[in-house]
């Protein structure tokens, strides 16, 4: 904000402007004094390394954003370090340890859910129609609003609010709903 010229102000405004500038000066000197001490005592010795990291980070973002750079494809049709490719849905087949049926790996979790009688779907099936039970909820969301109630969670001020624990959504692995 620009400070109006003293002459243009009424005496009252001049006075308040004067006080404001005094206060501002005082705050600036406070900060300078604080930083001076930190610098002189070597408490900020990591500044150079920090700057270097920031620079690398900025360069990285530019490089990655450049479409001409060949990044590994985000899709699942890449070749891994051993030279292998894998199908989008894991197709290893094994026996469910709960019911004994042969299950494909990529479909194991939803099967196990029903098999063990867990989850909203399994419970819904008892009381609702099968169409409702077909609503999937994602297993890949970054948030379940329900916070862990353990004693060992972090800083109590940062607890997540309680809420529903499931989000409706599509199964991500191949974008389709399981029939």
């Amino acid at each position: 904000m620009s400070v109006p010229k003293e002459e243009d102000l009424s005496p009252h405004s001049q006075l308040s402007s004067h006080f404001f500038l005094d206060l501002l000066d005082s705050i600036i000197v406070d900060v300078a004094s604080e930083c001076h001490r930190v610098a002189r005592l070597g408490l900020d010795s990591n500044l150079e390394e920090e700057d270097e990291e920031l620079k690398l980070s900025a360069q990285a973002r530019v490089r990655v954003a450049d479409p001409s750079n060949s990044n590994d494809a985000n899709g699942k049709y890449v070749v891994d370090i051993f030279g292998q490719t894998h199908p989008p849905v894991a197709n290893e087949i094994f026996q469910c340890m709960n019911c004994g049926r042969s299950i494909m790996a990529g479909r194991f979790a939803p099967h196990l859910e029903k098999c063990m009688g867990k989850g909203r779907k399994a419970r819904l099936k008892v009381t609702r129609s099968s169409t409702v039970a077909q609503n999937r909820y994602s297993r890949s969301s970054p948030l379940s609003a329900h916070s862990p109630s353990s004693n060992y969670s972090t800083n109590s001020m940062n607890r997540l609010p309680n809420g529903t624990s499931n989000f409706a959504g599509e199964e991500h692995s191949n974008g389709t709903l399981e029939s």
């Binding site: 005592l41 590994d72 862990p148 997540l160 624990s165």
Partner: protein
Amino acid sequence: MEMFLRNPLYTNPEPCQHLAEYKLKHGFNGYKAIQKLLVTSPIGKTSVKKPKAVPRCSFCNGCEGRFYLCLICSSFSCLDHTILHSQSEIGHAVFVDIERAELYCGVCCDQLYDPDFDRVVMSKHSMGLTSGATGNESIGQRLIKRRRLISGVGLNFQKSKCGVSTKDMRAKSCYPMGLRGLNNLGSTCFMNSVLQVLLHAPPVREYFLSGGHRLEACHRRRTTDLMCLLCEVNAIFSAVYSGDQNPYTPAQFLYSWWQHSANLASYEQQDAHEFFISMLDAIHEKEGKSRNGSKGNEDCQCIAHRVFYGLLRSDVTCMTCGFTSTTYDPCVDISLNLNTSVSSTEKGKKLNKRNDDGSLSTLSGCLDLFTRPEKLGSDQKLYCQNCQEKQDSLKQMSIRKLPLVLSLHVKRFEHSLVKKSSRKIDRYLHFPFSLDLSPYLSSSILRARYGNRIYSFGGDESDMFSEFEIFAVVTHSGTLESGHYVSFVRIRNQWYKCDDAWITEVDEATVRASQCYMIFYAQKTLYNKANEDQSHAPNSPGRELYFPIAGCC
């Protein structure tokens, strides 16, 4: 009286010639006189009491601005005229800035630092410091424990003095051991991403690969029908470090974990962070109890505690009287709010690509936010024992004890009470590969609270192990409703992307530019040691080696 310890964090400031002369001639007389005039605020500030009459500069008679008090003759000067005072009165070079109780040299025109003066200042605050007592354990005892932990003796490594053999051809090949994809069992990338982190966390890796949890010795297996979760983790380690290149299916683990998590909580986790917490909880719950018997977790020796647990300190200060109540809470990780209100600087502008609002969020910024004194709202007045009534309070967090592996969780969600909805924050967060946590330790935070005086603030030498190196990042892409987790792990300074079944090599830039959700750092000494040990990693016990066919590179 506190001894001034040689604190490696401080550069011992050299006194200027004038301060040295002053001290020779006047000793501590001036300091002691000032000490009587010092005024301390409840939140740690120090100033010099102003006389009843408004002070005026002995030269210009001005009464505005900041005043400096001469230590010898007690006359006041405004900043510009301190030099004149020094010139007219020989030897009157040392002043005190009365606003901040800082020494100033009128001849050098510079702020001065003297441990003796700082000690005088701190002894005025002495009441506030004793509430920070950290327990009965002597510093010496803690030091010994700490050193043992660092050197690995405490973790009972069975060092591979036997069978270092590199029969496994892959040790000489391109890729280090322990790289193996994990099949997605149906939206279980949240689980896979965290498992990959554990598979490559140096102390956890060492523990399991050196037989820290043996199937035969596990008594839990014998007593219940349920599989012991640690046995499951052990099985994963064996499988992933076996040399088999086909992606592993952690179905048995999922099954066991669901049986355990049903006991712990009544929900199904979908968030990688929640999975991480529940895993460590389960490990502690089962392992800790069996090892320690009692519920007390003071010295729990379960692998979760030994590796991940740190101690957070919380200070709540009454803003009226300064009485501080301190509590310590164990923590397995730190959840950080994104610092979104960042001011841009010129220097910053040159270096950084900006977010839309022109500012860059950094991990240090988030840690600053975490340890910043926070004024509790007027609706959150806390009862002060000293004042005997509810008062406005200031709360401040700091790290009392760092774990071997520090897990940082970025809270990438906003919950709107008004809209009753949550949304994800995609804002880029810069994170360094090397992180020095000393500014966030309780000793540093405490010191900063009192103006960074040269004084010992209860830290011990274990604070020296505050340098950390990153070894894993869990990233998330997508929305709250539909997204995907991918981990990056760092082995011998090469980054690998662990995307369910696909393990690929990536360059540093990919990792730096990623959207981090959880970041994992290991103490530098541990990290470096793990890197050296990579080529001598003990083979999984009891497993046939898998010899790759030629041409794996």
